[in-house]
């Protein structure tokens, strides 16, 4: 473990650079990290993420909808493609 490992935070300015997280072989993008930390795992009853018609809505604070996760991810993908051009 740790061989070839880079610090995730040091790569933040380039959001979509592929990141190594679990050693030299396992790579993951920020897009996937966002998807997993927002969209996978335990949802506490009455918590901030609710699902409506299969789309997770992310709430912050007083029931203000910031964005649906899927829409946010789509926008990030579009942005990623722009950067790659």
């Amino acid at each position: 473990m740790g061989h070839g490992r880079r610090t995730l935070l040091s790569l933040m300015p380039n959001d979509f650079e592929t990141l190594e997280t679990l050693g030299g072989e396992d790579e993951v993008s920020l897009l996937e990290i966002l998807d997993h930390v927002l969209n996978s795992g335990v949802v506490i009853h009455g918590s901030l993420v609710i699902s409506l018609a299969g789309v997770d809505l992310v709430y912050l604070g007083l029931n203000v909808v910031l964005a649906s996760v899927e829409t946010a991810l789509s926008n990030l993908q579009i942005e990623e493609k722009r950067r790659q051009k």
């Binding site: 995730l8 935070l9 927002l38 949802v43 709430y59």
Partner: protein, 227 residues
């Protein structure tokens, strides 16, 4: 205003090394309930939306430091408890279910493969409604065939498989034994894929897709829980 942010739960073992700091440099603390340990931090709430990506990466780092060593049940970043009392009540209520899932998933990791249509590969046929629908049907059949071929190629590695359709493609979640991640990648790569489709693999991840429903969305009787 502060809240209790929980990162993940795992079976306690003294040899597991734990991260010192988490989201927004908050100290990571351990709550131990018999065999179950949970990592948490007291954080300022709500999060600064401008800092959300950084918070997500910091959260991920905490969970993955433990996940590298053992099976974990991850929480979602935006789930928080009002206070320690609510957090403790939650764990007491759900501890047994968490331990059962951790036991069931102790030797496996979640690998993923997304198969999606390349957006610019095939120009949309707008000559008629029928032509448009036929084109979509052909693309759908082709994608379904690729998903099936991928599942078939992974059958010998898969402890369990879930497939979910999304607007960004078909997502295949596969439980594989820890240590078999490269076998997964090789098996997927060996499956030919039509030129108008693309695929992306990722993992290993905690087996969040395979948690029991009661663990994924637990109920907290008589506790306000998070807001």
């Amino acid at each position: 205003m502060s809240r209790i942010l929980v990162y993940c739960g795992f079976r306690h073992a003294p040899e597991i090394s734990l991260p010192a700091v988490g989201v927004n440099a908050a100290p990571v603390q351990v709550a131990a309930f018999d065999n179950l340990s949970l990592l948490w931090s007291e954080v300022e709430w709500p999060f600064d939306p401008q800092r959300m990506q950084k918070s997500a990466v910091e959260f991920h780092e905490v969970v993955h430091q433990v996940f590298k060593q053992t099976a974990v049940i991850p929480f979602r970043l935006l789930s928080v408890f009002d206070d320690q009392q609510a957090f403790t009540a939650f764990v007491v209520e759900n501890r047994q279910r968490f331990l059962e899932d951790l036991n069931r998933l102790r030797d496996v990791v979640q690998m993923e493969c997304v198969i999606y249509t390349k957006p610019s590969e095939t120009p949309v046929d707008r000559s008629s409604g029928k032509a448009y629908l036929e084109q979509k049907a052909v693309a759908l059949r082709s994608s379904e065939a690729s998903v099936q071929a991928t599942q078939d190629a992974l059958a010998h590695l898969s402890r369990e498989v879930r497939v979910r359709e999304g607007k960004n493609g078909t997502r295949i979640f596969v439980l594989v034994e820890r240590g078999c991640e490269n076998n997964f990648r090789q098996a997927v790569t060996a499956v030919p894929i039509p030129t108008h489709l693309s695929r992306r693999m990722s993992g290993p991840w905690p087996a969040a897709e395979f948690l029991s429903e009661q663990v994924k969305m637990p109920q907290i009787d008589g506790v306000a829980g998070a807001k």
